[in-house]
């Protein structure tokens, strides 16, 4: 098909008003599935494998979906920031803004029988797996309408029916768990794979290498995805890892380094990875990405990074802006249409928050539910067992 023509040229802009008039009659916005081939920002860097092509097949509908999904995630995380500062969200709140392209690109290449497992920066990953804004905000505020009925909190979102296995608070633990999901998929002879996401901080965890060794021995369909945002909490990658080339850390396991701010590159890499692991066992994808917020809401994020660095990434590499440029450059929508989408999203998010605020806190009896699947009538106790006790069904 036609090569990409990344042109926001003056002539294009001049033509736009005419085009707009004509196009409102005949240009299909966001519904065309006419294939479009776009090059990734940079080539993939391989380790012990042949990298996939830089040319990614997409279409206008997909690009506009990318825009909408990432913009929704961005808006959601910023709204969560405000809710946290208003003390409606308590405890830990780890925001994903800046990293949206990773989960959105991944979703575009997989289905809901493939599994995803991640750590605690999971709000957007959950949304990508089919979660709703209402479930998310309710859970963050500890309400019944939350995806974990208020009992999990920010770090413990799950959606088993669409292959999302959490939501884990212990750094690195999700990687062996993810290898276990892949084990089960292979055991059941599913033709599906698991993506286990972890950060550059977790990449040094011993259990990761233990699980990778077993996965390679047993040929498990597991893709380890290092979301390298270059900081493990306040520690820069070069202070934590002797070798911050995380895509190479698998040694005997092949790897690929990907521009994690380019949603099309992510999509291509994940598609490649899934095909690879179903035949050849594990692979590591390193997504070069960035988080605008600090590690969590307790971390301003600027004591170990310069504001110039943060704003520099925002200007040069923002994943949403990249897609906006593509959409405008290929004339798939107007600036106004994109802004309208963003306005719509803002409204959706605000409505979800308002509705979430109406959801009640869990009933006190919920303290004692779901401790066991089968409690055998055993007793459980509150702080003063002569005052509060319950029978576990």
């Amino acid at each position: 098909m036609a090569l990409s023509h990344l042109s926001s040229t003056r002539s294009n802009r001049l033509l736009r008003p005419l085009a707009a008039a004509a196009s409102s009659l005949c240009r299909p916005i966001s519904t065309s599935t006419e294939p479009l081939v776009i090059e990734t920002s940079i080539p993939f860097t391989p380790h012990k494998c042949e990298p996939p092509s830089r040319s990614v097949e997409t279409n206008p509908q997909e690009l506009l979906t990318f825009f909408r999904d990432m913009a929704t995630m961005r808006r959601m995380e910023i709204a969560a920031d405000s809710l946290y500062k208003a003390k409606l969200i308590r405890g830990f709140c780890h925001l994903y803004d800046g990293q949206e392209a990773v989960c959105v690109g991944m979703e575009a290449s997989i289905n809901k029988k493939d599994c995803i497992i991640t750590a605690y920066r999971d709000h957007c990953t959950f949304l990508g797996r089919g979660g709703t804004l209402l479930e998310i905000f309710s859970e963050l505020m500890g309400r019944q309408g939350g995806c974990s009925k208020g009992k999990g909190g920010s770090m413990h979102f799950y959606k088993k029916e669409s292959g999302f296995y959490g939501g884990h608070g212990i750094v690195g633990a999700q990687v062996p768990l993810g290898c276990g999901l892949a084990f089960a998929q292979k055991y059941n002879k599913d033709e599906n794979a698991t993506f286990a996401l972890y950060g550059d901080g977790a990449a040094n965890q011993g259990q990761l290498f233990e699980a990778l060794n077993i996965s390679a021995l047993w040929d498990l369909p597991i893709i380890l995805v290092c979301e390298n945002n270059h900081y493990g909490m306040g520690t820069a990658e070069w202070r934590a890892a002797k070798s911050p080339s995380y895509y190479k850390r698998g040694d005997y396991v092949p790897g690929l380094k990907v521009d994690g701010m380019d949603v099309l590159a992510v999509k291509q890499a994940c598609k490649f990875a899934k095909e690879h692991v179903l035949k050849n066992g594990p692979i590591i994808l390193e997504m070069d990405t960035y988080r605008y917020h600090g590690h969590s809401m307790s971390d301003p994020g600027s004591t170990y990074r310069t504001r110039d660095e943060i704003s520099g990434v925002r200007q040069e590499r923002d994943p949403i802006e990249r897609v906006r440029k593509l959409v405008l450059g290929h004339d798939l929508a107007t600036e106004k249409e994109l802004k309208d989408i963003e306005k719509e999203i803002r409204k959706e998010v605000d409505e979800a928050i308002a509705k979430a605020k109406e959801s009640p806190m869990p009933e006190p009896s919920e303290l004692f539910t779901n401790v066991y699947v089968k409690g055998f009538g055993t007793e459980s106790f509150g702080a003063d067992r002569k005052e509060l006790r319950a029978t576990l069904p």
Partner: protein, 371 residues
């Protein structure tokens, strides 16, 4: 060790032979109708075999469980029968393979993870507690974790400090886990089958020194449908003067102590806990309300141990019934020494249980001078 189990049916004939009936279990049925001897090892092996046969989702994972036939031969023959897809030898990487097993359980398989001993499980304890025990609660019922963690627990013989710890009280303090500790072959079969069928994470604490011991078991115990209830203790020996609680190997010691006490006119009721979590507080309290005196016995470290929980439960629920302070027999408050004489001092012996029971009955001899 040959233990006399009687039923009401056999009780008469045994009495006629001049053999005193050891236990007539009223709180729970006693299955020794037609005695066939089964070692604990055979009991565990047969339980694993039957459950793997019944449910294709059950699989075994651990070090040496396959080709080596099991470090203690518990999994003997299972690789040949079920193949390498279901009996998996792992590298020596507890954190890794335990995490993998828990993840497999998230997805719906039913792994049985063998730890060569529970000392090594400490390397995987984050997955047992944070990944397995708490997930059903955190996901409010979306993700259940039907996994069994099994292996030898507590002291063996002469294996030293790093290989001798009892983890019953650590695991039993965690909501979301079930913790079982079999003593006899009947316990081993019934509780392991129940554990594998259970939809929640179960920590199954065996004892290396019991593996070779044979116990008589009835036809009912040998049936493939046999299982014991989780959360129910068994009264191994009825008595009326003092209650002795124990689990795992200590049950045998408690029964020996009961024999000795019996000759001195003290009738001890021996409770085999079987289930450390859920703890059968009802059976324990009912017994103490009957006997008014309690001795708790365990092999593990004393501080914050199982006996401490049992004592508190009895003080909370049956204070008025106690005629004497609760006595606690436990392992010594030191890392396990190697020398045989010190090791003996570090573990409860039958005479310790006898002495404590006598103290509870105000029949003790004067205390030895402090060391």
């Amino acid at each position: 060790m040959f233990r006399i189990l009687t039923q009401r049916v056999l009780g008469q004939s045994l009495l006629q032979q001049g053999i005193r009936p050891g236990a007539v279990a009223s709180a729970s049925r006693c299955f020794a109708s037609a005695a066939k001897d089964l070692t604990v090892r055979e009991a565990l092996n047969s339980a694993l075999n039957e459950e793997m046969s019944a449910d294709p989702r059950v699989l075994l994972m651990g070090e040496e469980v396959g080709e080596y036939q099991g470090a203690y031969k518990i999994t003997k023959g299972l690789l040949d029968k079920y193949g390498p897809d279901r009996v998996l030898d792992t590298p020596i990487t507890e954190a890794g393979f335990t995490g993998i097993a828990v993840g497999a359980a998230y997805h719906g398989l039913r792994p049985v993870v063998e730890f060569m001993t529970f000392n090594f499980a400490m390397q995987a304890i984050d997955h047992i507690i944070n990944s397995a025990a708490k997930t059903y609660y955190m996901s409010t019922g979306q993700i259940s974790v039907p996994i069994v963690f099994r292996g030898p627990n507590g002291a063996a013989a002469g294996v030293g400090a790093q290989h001798s710890q009892c983890y019953a009280s650590w695991y039993a303090s965690c909501p979301g886990l079930k913790v079982l500790a079999p003593y006899s072959s009947e316990d081993a079969r019934g509780l392991l089958k129940a554990a594998i069928r259970d939809p929640d994470p179960v920590v199954f604490l065996e004892n290396e020194l019991l593996y070779g011991e044979a116990f008589p078991v009835s036809a009912e115990v040998l049936d493939s449908n046999f299982a014991l209830p989780i959360g129910k203790a068994k009264i191994e020996r009825e008595g009326k003067d003092v209650t002795i609680t124990a689990f795992s190997k200590m049950v045998g010691f408690a029964l020996k102590a009961a024999e000795i006490l019996d000759k001195e006119g003290i009738s001890a009721e021996v409770i085999n806990l079987r289930s450390i979590r859920p703890l059968d507080r009802a059976t324990i309290n009912a017994s103490v309300r009957k006997t008014n005196r309690l001795v708790t016995v365990e092999e593990g470290f004393p501080q914050h141990g199982v006996g401490a929980e049992i004592c508190t439960s009895v003080v909370e629920e049956s204070f008025g019934y106690l005629d004497a302070p609760v006595e606690r027999i436990a392992g010594a408050d030191v890392p396990m020494p190697y020398a045989a004489n010190l090791e003996r001092l570090a573990l409860p012996q039958v005479e310790d249980i006898v002495r404590a029971a006598k103290r509870a009955c105000y029949r003790s001899v004067p205390m030895a001078a402090a060391a």
